[in-house]
Structure formats: C-alpha cells, structure tokens
C-alpha cells in the first residue's frame, strides 16, 4: 500500500509525506519538501551588508524578526561591531515577541483543529468562538509589541545593522507593559487548554539541541548544547553539524557529525533549560502537568504554550529595564566573516556571511530550524507509522499529518 500525503495542510509552505507499506511492514518513508527554492544564498551575493536584514526577513512570513536578528548579529560580528547592552535587550524583546506570536498561531490555527476533529479555524466557529477571541486578544498585544520597536509586526523596518533607527517613548513603553499584563491570564488559559488536548501516547528519544546560557532563557546568543553532551561556541557550528543535499527534497538535511538526527524547537529548549524559566512560568507548567525530560514530540505544543507564558513575563521585565537613550547607527565597513546561531520559534537558526572590504556579501549560508529537524522528523514518522501500521489508511494519514504539524515545520524557511 502506497500512501502519498501530498501538500500537507496547516503548515507553512509545501511538503509531502510518501510511504510504502507492504504486508504490514513499513518499507519506505520520505518527507519530500518540494517548496520551490528561491535561492536566497545565491542572490545575496554582491548585495551590501545593510540590505541583507531586509532581504532575509522575506525568507519567512512567520519569523522574519528571527532571520533579521540572526543576520544582523552575524554581520555585526563580521564588521567587528559590538552592540550596547540596551540594543541586546531590545533585540531579545523582539525575538521573544516573535516566538510568542508564532507559537500562538501554531497552537490555535494549525494544531488545535486536529484534536477537535476539525479541518480548519473556520470550522472552530461558532463552538470555539471564545478561544478565537482569546487568540485575537493575545495576538493583538504581541503584534503591537513587535511593531513598537520594529515599526510594523511583519517585516519590521526599524531594526538594522548597528541598532534601531528610532526608539519608542517612555509613555509608549508604559502602555505596552499594561497591555502585556492584561494578557497574562489568557496565556495561562492557553497553556491549560493545550495541556488538556488528547495527545497520542508516543515516544521518540531524540537528542535535543538548543542555545544555552548560564544567565536566563537564552534566545539570541549562547553556547550550543545538547542532551547528549554537545557544548560548543556558535563559531564552532560547522565542527558539530553538517548540512547535506537530499535527492528527493529541495530542503537540505542537517545532522550531527558521526551521530545523526537531533531535534530543535520549543520542546528541545524546555528539555535543556526548564530551570531558566521564570518562577510564574515554572508554576504554570507544573500545574499543567508538564515535566522534563519529555520525549513525546506531540508535546511540542505544550512547550510552545509554556513559552508564551514565559515570554510575556520576560518581556515585561525587559521593557521595565530600558533606558531608551537614542543611539547613533554607526558601523565601519571592513572585510570579515561572521556566524550567528539563535533560537527562532522553531529552533536553531544559523546565518553565516563573508563580506569583502566594500561590505558586499561574498558568501552566505543560512541553515534553518526545519533543516535541523528534517532527519529527526522522518525518523519520528517512521516510528509512528510502525505503531499505527494496522490502522486504516485514513487514520495513518491523519496521524502522520498531526506529527508533522506538531513539529511545526516551516518549509518556506527550510528551502529558502
């Protein structure tokens, strides 16, 4: 029996799962990411460093801030520029706002319908109108937070290499803090809602990888660590990870040298740094029955909801601590090379640039979370199909789709 789930719905971009079952045995399974390539790394060649963030934002409509922040950090390293502590804080607010927004969309619009036997968010009306309204309340405030420092929530314009071209007033910060305070209960309600969903009982003991720091819940900067003992600086990325082309997919597949697959994203982050969450969040997570280690990839949705609670709390603290002193955007042009690895909503994101002395890109390499998860997702799918192999075709297809969605892949990002 050949099963082709062509064009998986409710994920970002275009991908299919193709599997072959013979006499109750899984013969073959492939995740074919057929999203058309746009060749970002190809056409970034000979573009100037200061337009790179605006270009790479367009890799992804869900996580443009993450691509911009990662590119900006890599370019600043290449140019020998060190941002001020204030700029570092604002960038963390920006990426946290992105993670919260992305996790919310994934929880409510992409994953939730699966657990209620629905096909889409449209079907959630009228029964789940209060849930949709809660999503709108949450998303509104979080979008406004991204726009507060970025000018607009999607493809922001204020964040550039060297800092931010304009900062909000103290008054606007005050209003934003009030806004965030007002959605704290909605965030905890979201976690409660997600933790009560009927997740399949399933285990895939993955090696989790995340950015880690001894101080706080690291997002934009830290060491690359794993549950199986990796601990390296971001500059040593290529000494641990290897990106390979795959004959049946436009997305490249990344593995740990000499070992193989690994998992990144919200669940990986929580498995590696649950102790770095703020107190309120730890309590809320405990109340929701979540504890680490957790090796059920379907629980990635719970991890995302926990990060929503944490993100709102941390953004309030960060906003409170800003000095809001204007800074001049001043970066000196020079030849150089820089690598930055950050936590995008879906996990580890690596940008690498080589600049010539006129600030033009000589080489660009971008490795996205879904490329990091690709091999692990395929392995997970194989395990899942074996578990449900005696179910009917419809059930196998649905389970495969649900697992793909639980990983929250972004095929547009992965191919770019």
């Amino acid at each position: 029996m050949k099963i082709n789930v062509n064009y998986i719905a409710r994920v970002e971009g275009e991908g299919s799962v193709n599997l072959d079952i013979k006499d109750g045995i899984l013969k073959d399974l492939k995740l074919n990411i057929w999203e058309p390539p746009r060749f970002f790394e190809g056409f970034l060649f000979k573009r100037r460093f200061d337009e790179v963030p605006d270009i790479v934002a367009r890799i992804c409509g869900i996580c443009p801030v993450s691509h911009m922040t990662t590119a900006i950090r890599a370019l600043e390293k290449a140019l020998g520029f060190s941002p001020s502590p204030e700029i570092i804080k604002i960038r963390k607010i920006m990426t946290l706002s992105q993670i919260i927004a992305s996790n919310l969309i994934h929880i409510y619009m992409l994953a939730f319908p699966d657990y209620k036997g629905l096909e889409s968010i449209s079907d959630m009306l009228p029964k789940f109108k209060s849930e949709i309204k809660r999503l709108i309340r949450l998303k509104e405030v979080v979008n406004n937070l991204t726009a507060l420092f970025g000018g607009r929530p999607l493809h922001p314009v204020v964040m550039v290499v060297g800092g931010f071209t304009k900062l909000p007033s103290r008054d606007m910060i005050g209003k934003m803090i009030k806004g965030l305070e007002s959605i704290k209960t909605d965030a905890v309600e979201t976690l409660k809602m997600v933790s009560e969903l009927p997740f399949p009982k399933f285990k895939n003991k993955s090696e989790y990888v995340a950015v880690h720091s001894s101080s706080g819940y690291a997002i934009n900067e830290g060491l690359l660590v794993s549950t199986n003992g990796i601990k390296v600086k971001e500059d040593e990325y290529y000494s641990v990870f290897k990106e390979n082309e795959v004959s049946y997919s436009h997305a490249k597949m990344t593995s740990i040298k000499g070992r193989g697959s690994f998992m990144v994203g919200a669940l990986a982050r929580l498995n590696l740094k649950f102790d770095k969450l703020n107190g309120n969040t730890k309590r809320a997570a405990k109340d929701a029955g979540f504890s680490v280690p957790d090796f059920n990839p379907f629980h990635n949705n719970i991890a995302q909801a926990i990060e929503v609670v944490h993100g709102i709390n941390e953004c309030i603290e960060l906003l409170d601590s800003l000095t809001l002193k204007d800074h001049e955007i001043k970066v000196n042009m020079k030849e150089g090379e820089g690598i930055a690895v950050t936590e995008a909503p879906r996990g580890l994101l690596c940008h690498h640039y080589v600049l010539n002395k006129r600030g033009m890109v000589e080489k660009a390499n971008i490795i996205t979370p879904t490329s990091h998860n690709f091999m692990n997702l395929e392995e997970s799918l194989k395990k899942l199909v074996k578990k449900y192999i005696h179910e009917n075709k419809k059930e196998i297809v649905l389970k495969c789709e649900m697992l793909v969605r639980a990983y929250d892949p972004c095929f547009s990002c992965s191919v770019h």
């Binding site: 064009y7 998986i8 719905a9 409710r10 994920v11 970002e12 971009g13 275009e14 058309p36 390539p37 746009r38 060749f39 790394e41 190809g42 056409f43 060649f45 573009r47 100037r48 337009e51 605006d54 270009i55 367009r58 890799i59 992804c60 409509g61 869900i62 443009p64 969309i105 619009m109 992409l110 319908p113 096909e119 889409s120 968010i121 449209s122 079907d123 009306l125 109108k129 949709i132 309204k133 709108i136 998303k139 509104e140 000018g151 607009r152 999607l154 493809h155 314009v157 204020v158 550039v160 071209t165 304009k166 082309e245 004959s247 049946y248 436009h250 789709e401 547009s412």
Partner: protein
Amino acid sequence: MVNGNKKKLRLGFFKYSCCAGCEFQVIYFQEHVIEVLENFDILYCRMVTSGGTPEGPFDISLVEGTITESWQVDELKKIRERSKYLFAIGSCAINGGIPAIKSTLPELEIEKRVYTDLSTIHSIRPNAISAYVRVDGDIKGCPPGDRDLYEALTSVLSGKKPYFLEYSVCVECKLKGNICVLVAYKMPCMGPVTNAGCGALCPSNNRACYACWGPMKQPNASALARQFEFMGISPEDIFRKFTLFGSVTTEFRKASELYED
C-alpha cells in the same frame, strides 16, 4: 464588513514562491478575523484548512508569491479561468518582490551557489503573475496593507470596483508632516517612485524608503536614479536600489538598466 446577499462568497488562496506572509496577513486580519470567517467560505487555503478543493469555482482568488517554476504558470491559468475576481496580493505576486533579485544575474550562476546537484531543480526566471494572467487588482505591500486588503474584500462583497492608492510615498510623508529624508538628510530614499500605502513607514522612522511596496504608476525612476548619482552614490549602489523590489518591472528597469554593470 457587510455581505448584502448573505450567501458566503467562495474564497481561494494560492501560494507560489514566497514567505507566506500575505497568507498570514489574511488569516490574522487584526479585528476583522471573525468578519472574514463569517462572510467568506475559505474553499482553498492549504495553510488554514486540510479540507477544501483547488478546483473552484471561486468568487474571489488571492494569489501570493513569485512565479519561479513552470507548473505554477499552468495552475495559475486554471485558477484565472475558475475565478470571478483574481487579485495579486503582496510584492512577490505583483512585482516579483525579493525572489526576483535572482533575475539580475544569470540563473545558473545563482543556482550553483546553493546546490551542487541541480538535476532536481526546475526553476524558471522569476516573474510577477500579471506576466501570465489578467489580474483584477493589486493588494500592494510587503507585507500587504490592511487598508487595501479590506478594500478588495469589501468591494467583492458589495460588487463595486475597488479603489487602490495610486500615488507615491512622498504624498504620505507630506500628509504626516515628515521632514524629507532625501532633501534634508541626503538619504537615498525610494519614496518618490514607490507606491503609497505603508503610511511612509521608513521615513517616519529615520530611514530611507526601500520600495517594498514596489513602483507606483508611471514613476520617473531614471530621474531619481540620476539624483542619487548627483548625491555621490555609486552606480552599483544605485543599481541595487532599483533591483531590491520590482527588479522585473518596466518601471524600475528604466532606472536599473542605466546603471547595470
């Protein structure tokens, strides 16, 4: 949003090569989310629903993304035939957007920088959807603006011709009382040739417009390019300005071809 005939209109959303940001903008349409869900039957949109059919027929189709593979052209033509109204949404579909930067260099040069094995790559020269089918309007922007999206959807609901802004970002700066960043601060601002709709976002935030909404109607792009040259900007920098967004448009080609290497 009022739907006079009460019957839900059939909406199709199609994605080609892009970031899917337009689709997100529609799914999450600020305070209008519930109105959209109540007035439109989302018949096809892969990011929203696992059900639905791409066969149509559609009362309104929204198409995002640049055309970069030939199967997309075939499908797009079918969608046009099955749609009463077809709108291009976002810069990628309207003017090629960021993916069309690829058109500034020979394709193979670019593709070889990304893949060593090109046997499964079937890309064609990137282009806007209007190169292949007639469109009933452009919902401009990157990301698209709420105003134009609302205008397109309500126009289809009420059966009127949508009105889209046809002037430059400069007009929005004047309306806001901004100091001109081009004249006063000598920033290479693309505002004079870029379609309005963003509310002069970049100049209001101390930076030059980078044309993410694409060219306005009949801009004098070569005159602005010459102004940049007069300001001491290098030919290659001028070329990059007019090839970031809208590199495949005749409007911006008039400027970029003057400074091509």
